[in-house]
Amino acid sequence: MIGGPQGSGVDSSANVFARACTLGGLFAFGKREYYSNIMGMHSYFQVRVNSNQIRSHNDRVDILTTFDTETVVRHSHEVVKGGAIIYDKELKDTNISEIPTLEKEVSRDLKTKLNKTGMDYSVYGLLENAKKSGVKLYPIPYSNLLKDVGDEIKEVKLSRIARIVNVMAVSASLSLLKFPEHLLHESISRIFGRKPKIIETNIIAAKKATKYVQDTFPSRPNSPLRVIKTKEPRIYLQGDQAVAMGKLLGGCRFQSYYPITPASDESVYMENHQLVKLDTDLLSECHDIKKGMKKGIGSALVMQAEDEIAAVNMAIGAGLAGARASTSTSGPGFSLMVEGLGWSGMNEVPLVVTLYQRGGPSTGLPTRTEQGDLQFALHASHGEFPRIVLASGDHEEAYYDAARAFNYAEKYQLPVIHLIDKALANSSATFPLFADRIHIDRGRIVSEKEIAKLNKEKVTYKRFSFTEAGVSPRVVLGTRGTTFWNTGDEHDEEGHISEDPENRTRMMEKRMGKMTLASKEIPYEERISSYGTGRSKICVISWGSIKGAILDAMEILKGEGEDIDFIHIRMLKPFASKHFLDLVNMKRTKVCIEMNYSGQLASYLRSECGIVMDHQIVKFNGRAMSCDEIVSSLKKLCKGTAPKRMVLTHGT
């Protein structure tokens, strides 16, 4: 774990660590926690690495890498026996009560803790306490090292390079682990990309820190980290990046957004990759390619709107014009989008809304995680219209779901809500390169040629025609030779306002009928995944990013002889009831795990197929579930000592 004040570069140094490990053939998983603040509040990054794929964080800290007081104060007690704390040599005597950003609750708890062990309420006391419980202490003289770097690069104003303290801290941690230095340097080079000056300074800093550790702590224990040689191409990426990539792959060419945490990172990332490389070989398979395209560069327009109401309605407008269009937001923004959502449902306009869930209600916990928007997403907007609701479990799913969402939206001409949670959006992980090519299905779009043919035959094209197939073929705005009308009011086949009761009944049936169609056509593999033997006594049911922690927990429990089955719901609506019932197998103990207060998935499953959970594990303190927490609650379940409702509370 590495921590420090917001804005001091904790993220990139955690990134340096994780990338270095990935370069060494390991898998990494990184989780970021931060306040809703720009500068100064405490943030930290937990990175786990392993030779096999790793998907979640846990509750133990092996190495606590720090360069400020607050991180030591907040996290030293989490370090396990045999673990290490890296800290600034000069901070040892700081008074804790001088840290203005520490909540009174935290101070109070610390005081009690230290009192019990008879230690002083000071950094010194905390460190001594850690030492007593078997933690090794590694003080680093950051300011001296910083001065050395300054001397070497001839920078007098040390404040200008103060940020490299971060990299020194990380380098110290890697050298504690005796990790190959060249991988660290390679990692730095990659992360600071096209800025040679910065790369150089950081590598100098890294070297100084490494050398200091090697010189000062020669007898540090052997490292559990072994570099592995692998030929598998891998990427290390964040959840929101996976979504942006999936969208681009799926053909999204218009994204409107209004800034909001944690959704806007995705849009900013897309904007930074707005020029889209095209496969020129495949391009030659297409007809009527415009000259501009032939250069092999497409583009995605990312549009910052004046608010979320504008954002969603712009995306709908773009969808009407024929672009694959989406918008991304979080709870407060989504609350403003629901009127637009209903319009797109009524007018059968393809639309993808990516909803990054964070702690609610209201502005809630803007930078913390939760899965509190499920029921809202399922029922958002007045009246009834079809919609598809997806939720991804990890980066890879997020990537494919983001791409496929457009297929669903266009094929069934409806809004698709794609749920992500902050824990997934802001966590990073190593994955084998996403190699599957997806298939793009744009649904029935009537071309100008077809319109010309209809016109010749004197057949009037009707946007909302009642058809056998259940979906009315659509044209996009600007298609020559025809026109159509849209209205939020109930309408006839041409799209003009109609209050006729018979037409109303048919139109409602036509629109809602698309849910049945979608449910029939979309394969189960895209909707529900199951893990485990399918024969265990306990069946865990969950959704969203908890998937990783559950899978990791299952592995741990398996190691301890406990088999657990796991059903992960990826498409919430239309819900594959029958398939789910087949999987769940009524006679076992069913436990639903989710990150909200009221057990929204559990309640939804009950209304959809009558399944009642035997147990519920919930958490709503804004901190993601760790695999350790899940392990310990599932153990209780195995032992039969678990209450019906378990509320998890770990996290800082």
Binding site: Q241, R253, F254, C286, K290, G298, G319, I440
Partner: protein, 324 residues
């Protein structure tokens, strides 16, 4: 084959009240389209919700009747996705200056090449005549139970403050003048805003056709009515910001427009208040980032082969993220 006025009409029954000013605006729009011979399939007419916003159903172009106050973002989304579309947005004054005021202000800032028309009748027609943001304070049309307690906004100055580069005002019963005004708006390179004085005979019994026409103001000598509405053109008013649009020139043209915009009561100017083509359109600004934007905008880019293989290559991104 030349297009006729009737090509822009639909057979849909028009359910506006008899004598509604909206008819004049509808005619002016259809006449403009015919005048310019625009292919109906190349025009997309957006509206919000209100009496006036039923307009698209009566015009034979793509017609998108959206949500109350939201015509603009829908229109902008479509225009951005396909800048080749001729996009026109219409709506009521409640729609545009009340619930939609935030979009009004922020749309001006972009200077996208499109036209926005507001039916300014001083009331919320479709919900039975409540005061709209343009109704003057203290007035009490028959549909209100108490005099309007809100100051009216000034649409022209609001548009100036928001950055619209073409700002005009028309009158629903001067259809020919209105047609020319709308045409100038459509032809303007940038965001054009046109405020149209539109009598609502059903609810606004103050700003009526008779009132605008000055039927209560009979010239002693001639016995003629003295209309309140007059043409800026007749005063040799010059609304155009001369290139290159120096600050002093800008300041002059803006100030005169503001001054004119506060005229009301006995003299109500109509015509073009302000026009500035020295400011880059949004399309041009985008093209600086995305050089092929005008030719292959979002809506016109193929994204897959006929058999559904995606054209997008993520190789560059994969390289950036690669960790092996």
């Amino acid at each position: 084959m030349a297009l006729k006025l009737s090509d822009y009409k639909t057979p849909v029954h028009n359910d506006w009240c008899p004598g509604c000013g909206d008819f004049g605006i509808l005619n002016a729009i259809q006449m403009t389209l015919a005048d310019m011979s625009l292919d109906p399939s190349s025009v997309a007419l957006f509206s919000g919700v209100g009496c006036s916003s039923k307009m698209p159903h009566y015009v034979n172009t793509y017609g998108i009747h959206t949500l109350h106050g939201r015509g603009l973002p829908f229109a902008i989304g479509a225009k951005l996705a396909n800048p080749n579309l001729e996009v026109i947005a219409v709506g009521g004054d409640g729609d545009g200056f009340g619930i939609g005021a935030g979009h009004f202000v922020n749309t001006g800032r972009r200077n996208l090449n499109f036209t926005y028309i507001i039916h300014d009748n001083g009331v919320y027609g479709l919900t039975k005549g409540q005061a709209s943001p343009t109704l003057k304070r203290g007035l009490k049309p028959k549909s209100l139970s108490v005099p309007n307690p809100n100051e009216s906004i000034n649409p022209i100055t609001l548009a100036l403050a928001s950055g619209y580069t073409f700002i005009g005002r028309g009158y629903a019963y001067e259809v020919k003048h209105l047609k020319d005004l709308i045409r100038r708006g459509i032809e303007h390179k940038g965001s054009a805003f046109i405020d149209i004085l539109q009598p609502c005979p059903t609810y606004n019994d103050i700003n009526t056709k008779e009132w605008y026409g000055g039927e209560d103001r009979i010239d002693h000598d001639t016995g003629n009515r003295r209309p309140r509405v007059y043409h800026l053109e007749d005063e040799k008013y010059d609304p155009i910001v001369k290139p290159p649009g120096k600050p002093s020139e800008l300041n002059k043209k803006i100030s005169q427009a503001v001054s004119k915009s506060f005229e009301w009561g006995d003299k109500i100017p109509i015509g073009v208040f302000y026009q500035n083509e020295t400011i880059e359109t949004y399309e041009a600004r985008i093209t600086q980032r995305l050089p092929t934007y005008m030719e292959i905008p979002p809506a016109l880019q193929p994204i897959c082969t006929p058999s559904g293989k995606p054209l997008t290559l993520l190789t560059d991104i994969f390289d950036e993220l690669s960790a092996t």
